[in-house]
Symmetry: C2
Subunit: 194 residues, 2 copies
DNA sequence: AGCGACATGTAAGCGGTTACATGATTCT
DNA sequence: AGAATCATGTAACCGCTTACATGTCGCT
């Protein structure tokens, strides 16, 4: 949807090669946006066609030659336009909600296991956010000389952490709801046998 | 990702034409999964090729002829398999987080407006969930004779509502954080003028 | 005659993933 | 000699969106 603009954002810190851009991507916005390297090159070509980035060819002796991409004036203008432009709110599109939706087709225990697994994954995610991602962000703030930006980076990271915590809590309460339902059904079945 | 399985799920209630399936989609899972009508027909063809749905041609006099799609045994087996199969957790991929991430390129007020707008949209969403979607679900439970399923439907709806509430709360706290920062910066600037 | 509901599709294009493809340099 | 890192891309495929395309029937 807005990958090109994410790239413009990273390049606003400094000009980068596609290779370095990819690494910067993995290290900075990876907690809410993931991309394949191949896509970055294609997006870069498009941004160049559009006149939003310029290319500087750099010959190297100790490594293969490379191309440094940097923002043009139009590119920076487009970035500024985009940053405050209303964004569409995407639908959730989450498979596990579909599983729950059709949960009556499965047995309650399987659904509970599904939710427990989800809790485990989410907790691992939170731990990763709190250790690797946070420190990675701090490192990048120094590398890109972007002290002002760090606070914003941490704000988005905070969203990721809080949202994952919310998911854990919701899953826990859903497990309890299912537990309750299983008990009630048990009672009904028992009484119908009398 | 799992649109075919969402279709299998809906068809597990009863056989439907593509047209009715589309309507059922809009009325039931619309709060976490949206689809275009054209996609449903294509998915249906694929499901048929795979042997997961059968087609029954129905001639009508008071309306155009139609095709009723219904689950085959394999289709039902596949649905049961999928419901308890681990799902990948997609990354957030939300544009507004990108805007915030690169927030240092914009002024604080614009970002606050962005968040306020987000709050408004989310609150409208919540209201819609609580009125239209909830009652629509109840209606469909009767139509599909799916009283057992209703509880699960409401569970996913609850997630949608709680998640939207979480988003509102987070946005409110983010606005306060930005407010704070703007004040501190104001102080710094004022003191640097002395 | 016109509109809304019923009914089924195709075509073009975009964004994204996975896999493939190549080649230099540096370190072990 | 082999592995890791630096560096840049192409090709095939898939899912989804937007727009197009066609036609019936019943009601007003």
């Amino acid at each position: 949807m807005s990958l090109p603009h994410m790239i413009l954002g990273i390049l606003s810190y400094r000009g980068l090669s596609g290779y370095d851009l990819n690494k910067a991507f993995q290290a900075s916005v990876q907690h809410f946006w993931n991309t394949e390297q191949s896509q970055i090159y294609r997006a870069l070509h498009k941004l160049h066609e559009q006149g939003w980035v310029g290319i500087e060819h750099v010959a190297q002796e100790d490594a293969p030659d490379k191309k440094i991409y940097h923002l043009t004036e139009q590119g920076r203008a487009e970035l500024h336009r985009w940053i405050v432009a209303p964004q569409p709110i995407p639908t959730l599109h989450e498979g596990w909600l579909g599983q729950l939706f059709f949960g009556a087709e499965a047995d309650v225990q399987s659904l509970q296991h599904l939710l427990e697994e989800r809790i485990r994954v989410m907790q691992a995610l939170i731990e990763n956010y709190e250790t690797n991602v946070a420190s990675g962000g701090a490192r990048y703030a120094i590398e890109f000389d972007a002290a002002d930006d760090l606070a914003y980076w941490m704000l988005t990271l905070d969203y990721g952490i809080q949202k994952a915590r919310f998911d854990v809590q919701w899953a826990e309460s859903a497990i309890r709801t299912l537990e309750q339902r299983a008990k009630e059904q048990g009672v009904h079945e028992a009484s119908s046998h009398e």
